[in-house]
């Protein structure tokens, strides 16, 4: 065996390398943002329908990720979904009349919350509620709406055609 000091040094190096690798995996590869001090604030929003929104989904302003969805719950009194967002402290000047909408990234991508800024000089503080919201657009609802409207049009057209032909028939007799 090698002298004990050489063993110590290489063992230490090995353990250090292992820990660095694990820290690298935890902080750089995964989407967990670690911070020792509180560098973010929370915003709440109530939605009628959140579609496929999940915790951890990004909150974006003009396409820039400014935070993440922290929790999603359902309020039995309001009968609405309550979404809590964690916004980075750097973006602390969001006007209070801004609105939050749930968008889909791409046609089939994941859903995220987009905030479009309003115009007042008052800014959101920790724990504030976003007053103006727009629900998720559920693709199936859109399709069914379109299909039913088509069907309605067709029945209406048929009824019209029938109404137009019925008075004509007795005249022929």
């Amino acid at each position: 065996m090698r002298p004990s000091r050489a063993i110590d040094v290489s063992t230490g190096l090995f353990v250090l390398l292992g820990l660095v690798a694990i820290v690298f995996l935890v902080t750089q590869i995964s989407n967990r943002e670690f911070s020792l001090t509180e560098t973010s604030f929370r915003l709440n929003a109530q939605f009628e329908n959140i579609g496929g929104l999940k915790t951890g989904a990004p909150v974006k302003m003009a396409g820039v990720t400014i935070g993440r969805v922290e929790t999603i719950s359902y309020d039995m009194q309001l009968l609405k979904a309550i979404v809590t967002m964690r916004i980075d402290k750097r973006y602390d000047q969001i006007p209070t009349d801004s609105d939050a909408s749930i968008f889909t990234a791409g046609l089939l991508g994941g859903q995220y919350i987009g905030i479009s800024p309003g115009g007042t000089e008052e800014y959101f503080k920790d724990g504030d509620q976003v007053a103006f919201v727009q629900d998720a657009i559920v693709l199936e609802n859109l399709i069914s709406k379109y299909l039913f409207s088509q069907a309605d049009k067709e029945t209406a057209a048929k009824a019209e055609a029938a109404a137009a032909t019925t008075p004509a028939t007795p005249a022929k007799e």
Binding site: M1, I7, D8, S10, T11, L13, F14, V15, L17, G18, L19, A21, I22, F24, L25, V26, Q28, I29, S30, N31, R32, G56, P58
Partner: protein
């Protein structure tokens, strides 16, 4: 008739071995606090099992990553989504390939070394000599080696995955020219902390299993040259099969 008889006997042998190993495991666990009394011995074994496996783990990791880069790029470019190479590679490596390949390499590099070392101690009556001197060979020989392996495996898994990801990046970004920012940001948004945890838990579980098998086979080796050789072979075979079976079980539990 003889066939059935042999089959039954084989099953009985298997059960007896599994039972003996479980008893051995419990014994090791019961004396494991003694490891803290002699940390020096454990550190030496972390060196033996971990630091000496570093080169083989890093080399294999780099090449596994590079192959994943090539194959993954080829596969993904057929469906036109090369940018998710980072995501796919990171998830595969973290959750599956990293811990399993590390465990197989660990069994081959460290497990055989442990088994043959302890087996040779048994064959040359060193273990009996210790007993005569009132030194418990379980505490003095088996436990430090077991703990060294258990400590080393998660660390080796982490190193393996990190080096492999570097290999993937080398092929995907440097060679094929995937956008660097997209590669990393897609990976980061898709990989959760749970995935990292799953990989490390697997590394720990495989570390316990492979180390236990190695020290068990070495400790119970027949005290002959042939017996030591057989114990070493069996260590690799049993470790590999156990790792793959445990991998299924752990995955099923964690998913």
């Amino acid at each position: 008739m003889t066939l059935i008889h042999e089959l039954l006997e084989g099953m009985q042998d298997f059960l007896a071995r599994a039972g003996a190993m479980t008893r051995f495991f419990v014994r090791v666990l019961l004396i494991s606090p003694a490891g803290f009394l002699r940390p020096r011995l454990v550190i030496d074994q972390v060196y033996n099992a971990g630091a000496l496996s570093l080169v083989i783990i890093m080399t294999s990791g780099l090449f596994v990553g590079m192959v994943m880069g090539l194959q993954g790029y080829d596969l993904l470019s057929r469906i036109g989504s090369e940018d998710s190479l980072g995501t796919g590679a990171a998830l595969t490596l973290l959750k599956e390939l990293g811990p399993v390949v590390t465990a197989l390499l660990f069994a081959g590099r460290a497990g055989t070394a442990l088994a043959s070392e302890i087996g040779l101690m048994r064959a040359t009556d060193q273990l009996s000599a210790m007993e005569i001197m009132a030194v418990d060979p379980m505490k003095r020989v088996v436990l430090p080696r077991f703990l060294g392996g258990v400590i080393s495996m998660p660390l080796l898994t982490g190193i393996f995955v990190a080096v492999s990801l570097y290999g993937v990046q080398l092929i995907g970004v440097q060679y094929f020219g995937i956008d660097q920012g997209q590669f990393w940001s897609e990976m980061r948004s898709a990989v959760d902390i749970e995935d990292v945890r799953e990989g490390l838990i697997k590394g720990l579980v495989f570390g316990v299993a492979c180390s236990l098998i190695a020290v068990f086979e070495g400790y119970n080796a027949e005290p002959t040259a042939e017996g030591v050789g057989r114990a070493t072979t069996r260590t690799v075979v049993v470790s590999a099969v156990t790792t793959l079976v445990l991998d299924y079980i752990v995955t099923a539990i964690l998913l």
